[in-house]
Chain length 333, copies 2
């Protein structure tokens, strides 16, 4: 074969390989927002081991499952979980239809702008707020409400859309894993139907690969048209010991890589650590007060305490956001 | 470019296209076990419409979701659901550890070989049998029990492995849809963990694309190792009105194609019919008593009555197994 033939074939092979995504993407190119160092190297080594045919650590494509927490792992979670901001906005929007809220807690405090007072009621208060704002409509109606809110609502500190407050290094990591034939899943304590309307566009993760907490739905005929009504009843809490349960229920396979940032992710990481030999457990440690937030053991949101001890004890990878990331948000590039 | 160049490029393009699976597979080649006629044509037309760029019926790849019932749609379900045969075998295997079963129904009848007597207790009896055989172990232990059984147990009539009693035309249909970039899901009333250990090998459907009924699991540390214990408590019944709920929960998108065979699939087909404009609703009608079984409106297993009326009323596609299929089982080819 002459040189021209060879060039044509190589070009064709390259196009084909790019399209297939089976080329082993190199970490140096694929993770430009990660500083060189031990953390980036650990991730790159893991991917290389898992994807090198013939290596004793090789993992078949069907088993390349990576799971990611969402709040604090893929996007920010301060000064309050973004879904709580959504719920509070919904309380305001729905208030005219609920005159009784003016004198009923936690709504009364909320409507006076006293978020702290409203949340002083703890979990029961949050439960009431969530059910009042997340149930009582069809799944289609709720999806539209989420789409409209996420397209317009702005973060109180940055003034950015919430979907802009995702972590650039994690977007690169998601793409890098997928380029190496990993299937990426979200496993979040947040609401599954709060995430699904936008995760494909923002993270490249389709609805069927989003696992989260949920309320029950009920199939009904409404004017001859089938709908699913959202009921004010908890179906599943995908947090802490619920995360391995959710992974097993929705994925049915052991992940080989897990990424979290708080004690709510401890059991997900433990479950991953108990899986196949080639595996990677990662915690994102919020250390960059200048560009994002710095918090861990004493934070009421995203507390990282027991999981940090366990990571140190077991040699799991801890991402130090200030040290390991060049940039936090895509808009800051 | 000379002829040799062109040939090389065409060969490279073909390899690439095959690998990508983006060639529009032709029904004539892809469905050899389907007789030519209206049914095959309807399926082929639907796939062509959904995958032809520029067509008003074109469906983007991300929305090409096809859902399949399992019992009676992908494999046989007579003379009893295969999972029930599994449960009965498990009762026999576990009997030595349960001397009390000798005098307790429904176990006593079962152990005497009187299946009909045991099942006379109706749903509560079945519930007892399922819980006694499906709960009380880790998910890993249960998976091994299923794998061992499915690899060895033989069907009482054909003497074949249960996984050999899958429908050849449906295997072709699954592959044909996937070759046209559809994602294929099982949505079955059967147990999710009874199916997942073998669906990938038998149907090419990975665990995360299997939806079914489930019992609850609980995360626990056992000798320092995390396990999920299977509890004798129903988590979700993925049947009838539960099927749209399961589809929404696990997939989070409307299917555009649904395949069932009984009244248990009616709501799944209604839900699909209420989705995007390009859609296909199909019922498998068991009409071939010679090569499989013939049953519909009066069968206690896989009853097809209301759904058949609805199919006729709404113009859904009904596969007549005797008329539309050249062969039923792969081993009969």
């Amino acid at each position: 074969m002459n040189t021209t033939h060879t060039r044509i074939l190589m070009a064709a092979a390259l196009v084909c390989a790019l399209a297939l995504g089976t080329t082993v993407a190199q970490a140096e190119d694929a993770l430009p927002s990660w500083n060189d160092g031990k953390t980036k190297q650990t991730i790159a080594d893991f991917v290389k081991r898992a994807t090198t045919p013939g290596s004793p650590d090789f993992v078949p494509v069907a088993e390349r499952i990576a799971v990611f927490d969402n709040d604090g792992t893929l996007w920010s979670e301060q000064p309050m979980y973004f879904q709580l901001a959504f719920a509070l906005d919904r309380v305001k929007a729905l208030a005219p239809q609920h005159p009784e809220w003016k004198t009923t807690e936690p709504f009364a405090s909320l409507l006076k702008g006293d978020v702290k007072g409203a949340l002083a009621g703890g979990e029961p208060a949050i439960f009431q707020i969530v059910m009042a704002t997340h149930a009582g409509m069809t799944t289609e109606e709720f999806e539209k409400i989420v789409r409209d809110w996420i397209a317009a609502a702005k973060h109180p500190k940055t003034g950015r859309l919430y979907t802009e407050m995702v972590y650039q290094p994690m977007l690169e990591l998601l793409a890098y894993l997928r380029a190496n034939s990993f299937k990426t899943f979200i496993v979040s304590g947040g609401g599954i139907e709060f995430m699904r309307p936008w995760t494909e566009k923002v993270y490249g993760i389709p609805p069927a690969q989003v696992i989260g907490s949920s309320i029950k739905t009920k199939f009904e005929m409404r004017d001859g048209k089938p709908v699913l009504m959202r009921l004010p009843e908890v179906d599943f809490i995908d947090d802490k010991a619920g995360k391995p349960v959710g992974i097993h229920k929705f994925i049915g396979q052991h992940p080989i890589a897990a990424f979290g940032n708080s004690d709510g992710d401890l059991q997900m990481l433990q479950w991953t650590a108990a899986g196949p030999d080639t595996r990677l457990m990662v915690l994102i440690h919020h250390t960059d007060a200048e560009h994002e937030w710095a918090y861990d053991r004493k934070s009421s949101i995203g507390r990282l305490d027991k999981a940090l001890d366990e990571a140190q004890k077991r040699g799991w990878t801890v991402v130090d956001m200030k040290r390991d990331w060049k940039v936090i948000f895509p808009f800051a590039r």
